[in-house]
């Protein structure tokens, strides 16, 4: 797999796009780029403007300002039909009175191609999406996953340069969804087509995309690889939206890399969420539950490690491979003193962790994130 190599060439540029519906601003100054063959996922809560962004790129909606540039040509004024995009809608929008085959051939009919060519092409497409022999069925007789495949085949029938998918998997059962994820991804890679997929499912975005655009209330909040987004969320919103995150508010910056919470001083080795933060200004510290380390009681390491404090086990919830443990930190004067820690079941047994027990807790310096308090 060499997606990186293919992505060198820039394919799509969205520049400062703003879209209003009446007085409501659905997109605020959104800019991003997509390389040739890249799989981009647009992630955000419902109503944040994802579909609108997709529709602007497709040309189904005209932006109020900003440009959509494809291969160095401004296509902002181009109608949809001339943008060479394949679109898969959330509802699939399959024509109910046409068979799977007729649906796929729908756009081909109006091109100057012979019947034989169309037949060949549709056969190839049916095979490509794994529906060989199902061409004669009407959409209503196909399962949700099969309908999705027909929609996909129809979208790629005209060999688009850009594939737009609006929550393509949201209507399917969990099992089918997981299977189709990898199928769509490998199909996209095989065709080398650039793809933008809208989703509100973080797992979908993390597993499928080369790059994720996180949106909230019409704004693009963060643009980065799945790893970057998860590891270094740009704002508390992103942090909380993707995976789960503990926030410890009412921290105060003492000096570079050193934050005070109550009587404790915490070291932070990576401060990029708050590089501009001044001394004595208030901050929010954040750490993912899986990064909160519970140490053996009375162990020696306790003394040498920085960022260790005591906590009481309030509650334990079994989740299979891990326990989600609610810990009450002994920090006077902090309302957010309850945090979650995901601890492997094996470790729970080894350390004999029980409810109401007092345990030392460690926050690794490189796992703590810092956000300015204005973000909250």
């Amino acid at each position: 797999m060499t997606p990186k190599a293919k992505q060198n060439k820039l394919y799509l540029k969205v520049r400062n796009v703003t879209k209003r519906f009446g007085t409501f601003t659905a997109l605020k100054d959104v800019s991003f780029e997509a390389g040739q063959g890249e799989f981009i996922s647009v992630l955000g809560p419902s109503g944040c403007g994802k579909t609108t962004l997709l529709r602007v790129v497709a040309g189904l909606e005209k932006q109020d300002s900003g440009q959509v540039v494809v291969e160095d040509r401004d296509v902002s004024d181009f109608p949809v039909s001339k943008r060479r995009m394949g679109i898969v809608f959330q509802s699939y929008a399959l024509f109910p009175n046409l068979t799977a085959r007729q649906n796929i051939a729908y756009g081909l009919k109006s091109r100057k191609v012979t019947q034989d060519e169309i037949k060949q092409r549709v056969d190839d497409l049916l095979e490509l999406v794994g529906l060989k022999g199902m061409g004669r069925k009407y959409p209503a007789r196909l399962s949700g996953g099969q309908q999705q495949r027909v929609a996909l085949a129809r979208a790629i029938a005209l060999s688009p340069d850009l594939l737009l998918l609006d929550e393509p998997l949201s209507a399917l059962d969990a099992k089918v969804r997981v299977m189709l994820r990898s199928e769509i991804r490998s199909l996209q890679q095989r065709l080398g087509v650039t793809a933008i997929m809208v989703t509100h499912d973080q797992e979908e975005a993390l597993t499928m995309a080369d790059r994720i655009l996180v949106m909230n209330q019409g704004e693009l909040i963060q643009n980065g690889s799945p790893y970057e987004i998860y590891d270094r969320p740009a704002t508390p919103f992103v942090a909380a939206f993707i995976g789960s995150m503990n926030f410890i508010s009412s921290a105060v910056k003492k000096e570079k890399g050193l934050y005070q919470i109550g009587a404790h001083l915490l070291q932070v080795s990576n401060e990029n969420g708050s590089s501009g933060l001044k001394k004595q200004s208030s901050a929010i510290l954040a750490i993912r539950p899986e990064d909160v380390m519970v140490l053996p009681k009375g162990g020696e390491s306790e003394v040498n490690k920085p960022n260790v404090m005591n906590a009481r086990v309030e509650n334990m919830e079994y989740r299979g491979s891990v326990f989600r443990v609610k810990l009450r930190l002994s920090m006077a004067g902090n309302e957010n003193s309850l945090i979650h820690s995901d601890i492997p079941s094996e470790k729970i047994g080894r350390l004999k962790i029980r409810e109401t027990m007092e345990v030392p807790v460690h926050f690794p310096t490189d796992r703590l994130r810092v956000y300015s308090a204005d973000h909250a």
């Binding site: 181009f78 039909s81 679109i87």
Partner: protein
């Protein structure tokens, strides 16, 4: 995989930013607006301005209206009209409510039969309601004469308000029943479960759940019945006697006295309460729609022997009355000389020596109804599609929607009279400028008859089409657009086939109503093109009640036949579409 095999060539003679489809769409919507403005708005505007001029065409302000309301012989009709339509509405909605309740909330048998029978009056010209009543309660009526002297007679004083109200109740009952059935069927079963679980009694539940649940349906039924009774012309013409109401006044002013201005004035007097009722009805309907919960649970009526028997008795009585009513009409049309020679014969169906045009008028009516169905269905469905499914041009689309709803508020007589003024004028004078009338050629042709029907029954058809279109995926148009398939191809290949059941329904509706209507066309038909419904009116006028009755029976039979044909076609379509409508 030949991925690059099929590509759009990148050479276009037009600039690439040019979106031809969008322009076609815009022009079509604009045409819809122009068309509706021409056939709805301008004629009504012409009628309104006519009511403000004197006989010589000079502006007279409200002088005509002042005269109207100062002349009791004229303005008395308004009170009369309000009285009969108000009473009709009360009776009709009550009868319709219990009937609808029986069909939706009880376990009576043969619901399909009862529902179908209750719709019968929709197939008949309202003139027939009057004529049938004459045979039942008129001077020589079956009941008045006590079944030809076998029983003591009973004279109800048919001619006047009594006759009008009975006819209008028969006419409006199916409408009330239909609206209330829809409302009753929509109520959420969970509300009843909640009510009973809170220990409420059946009566209390009826008043706290049932009635509030159908509130808007009830309001809608009230206004629809009022409008129908208020504006109907056929029945009062037959059984009105000397009791003057607005609808017959318009006819008398225009046809009897050739006083077009006063005809226009009375039309406006008729139009105002109608428009108010119409607006109230629209508001009620909108609220009703927004009340439907997304996931409401349909109510399954529980068995209650006493209740079921009571309602079965009621429905049977109503069914008997409807059958007796139409059977009397059929019988009267087949009897040699009512009430003296009761031997059966078809000689009333031989219209040879009658005025009104005889069989020529009957076949003209069929032709007219067929054209109206064809043109009306095509125009309404296409406009509904353009209004509902094309993007952009918001204000124009809203304008088109408004103009499409407007005809519902226009009584047939008003349309007819407005069309006389609009199409008959050799030239229009607007603000002192005279423009020759380019549409004058339509006057006194089949064209204007068809046009008046298309407009008269436009709104219901438009709403039927809109409802069907709303059920299609909103993205069909976008999908085809993204594949470079013009919207009109998708319209014919997907939209029309999928909406075929609704299209057939619209066609049937147009045909049946065009066949039965008398109000608009009575002003517009010409001697060369006599019509069946007008012939009924004219023969009845001339005292030839039996042939008038016979002609009405022919109209009803044709409509029932068309309805059956529609049923067969729908079944055929259903069979075909079963393959692609969900699992089957």
């Amino acid at each position: 995989m030949p991925d690059n095999a099929i590509r759009t060539p990148l050479f276009f003679s037009l600039p690439e930013t040019f979106d031809g489809d969008k322009w076609i769409c815009r022009i079509l919507i604009l045409l819809v607006c122009v068309w509706l403005a021409t056939v709805v708005f301008l004629p009504v505007f012409g009628l309104l301005s006519k009511s403000l001029t004197d006989a010589d065409g000079n502006f007279a302000g409200l002088a005509n209206f002042v005269y109207y309301f100062q002349t009791p012989a004229l303005s008395g009709s308004l009170t009369n009209s309000l009285f009969v339509s108000g009473l009709t509405m009360l009776i009709s909605v009550s009868l319709g409510f219990f009937y609808a309740y029986a069909l939706t909330r009880t376990n009576i048998p043969a619901k399909g039969f009862f529902r179908g029978l209750a719709m019968m009056p929709l197939f008949a010209p309202t003139l027939l309601n009057g004529i049938a009543l004459v045979y039942l309660f008129g001077r020589q009526g079956l009941i008045t004469r006590g079944f030809f002297g076998t029983l003591p007679g009973w004279d109800i004083g048919l001619y006047g308000p009594v006759g009008i109200i009975i006819s209008e109740v028969i006419f409006t009952f199916p409408q009330a029943m239909l609206i209330l059935s829809v409302a009753l069927r929509m109520t959420d079963a969970r509300l009843y479960e909640a009510s009973y679980s809170l220990g409420a009694s059946k009566w209390r539940t009826f008043f706290t759940v049932t009635l509030p649940g159908i509130k808007y349906g009830l309001i809608s039924a009230v206004f629809v019945c009022f409008i129908l009774a208020f504006t109907d012309f056929g029945a009062p013409k037959v059984v009105g006697g000397n009791y003057n109401i607005l609808a017959t006044d318009i006819y008398k002013q225009v046809i009897g006295q050739q006083n077009f201005v006063m005809g226009a004035v009375v039309s406006v007097v008729l139009l105002i309460p109608t428009v108010i009722a119409f607006v109230a009805d629209r508001i009620a309907q909108r609220k009703q729609v927004s009340m439907i919960a997304a996931r409401s649970v349909p109510l399954i009526p529980e068995a209650d022997k006493v209740k079921d028997r009571l309602f079965l008795g009621y429905c049977s009585l109503m069914a008997f009355l409807i059958i007796a009513f139409f059977a009397t009409a059929l019988f009267a049309s087949l009897v040699k000389i009512w009430p003296y020679d009761l031997s059966l014969s078809l000689h009333h169906y031989n219209f040879r020596r009658m005025g009104g045009g005889g069989y020529a008028s009957f076949f003209n009516s069929i032709r007219m109804s067929f054209y109206s169905a064809l043109a009306g269905t095509a125009i309404t469905f296409a406009s509904a599609y353009l209004v509902e499914k094309t993007g952009g041009m918001r204000s124009l689309r809203q304008g088109a929607y408004f103009l499409s709803i407007l005809p519902l508020a226009l009584p047939g007589l008003v349309i007819g009279l407005a069309y006389i003024f609009f199409f008959n004028a050799p030239a229009w004078t607007v603000l002192g400028i005279t423009i020759p009338n380019p549409l004058n050629f339509l006057y006194a042709t089949m064209g204007i008859l068809v046009l008046s029907n298309v407009v008269h029954f436009y709104t219901v058809s438009f709403l039927t089409a809109t409802t069907a279109l709303k059920q299609l995926d909103q993205e069909f148009e976008t999908v085809s657009e993204s594949m470079g398939v013009p919207f009109y191809k998708t319209f014919f290949r997907v939209t029309v086939p999928v909406c075929l059941p609704a299209i057939l329904e619209i066609g049937m509706y147009y045909f049946v109503n065009s066949m039965a209507t008398v109000s608009a066309v009575i002003f517009l038909y010409s001697a060369d093109i006599p019509l069946a419904s007008v012939a009924v009116a004219n023969m009845d006028d001339a005292g030839d009640t039996a042939p008038a009755c016979a002609m009405s029976v022919l109209i009803v039979l044709t409509n029932v036949l068309v309805r059956i044909l529609y049923g067969i076609l729908t079944k055929g379509v259903h069979k075909k579409t079963q393959a692609w409508t969900s699992a089957g």
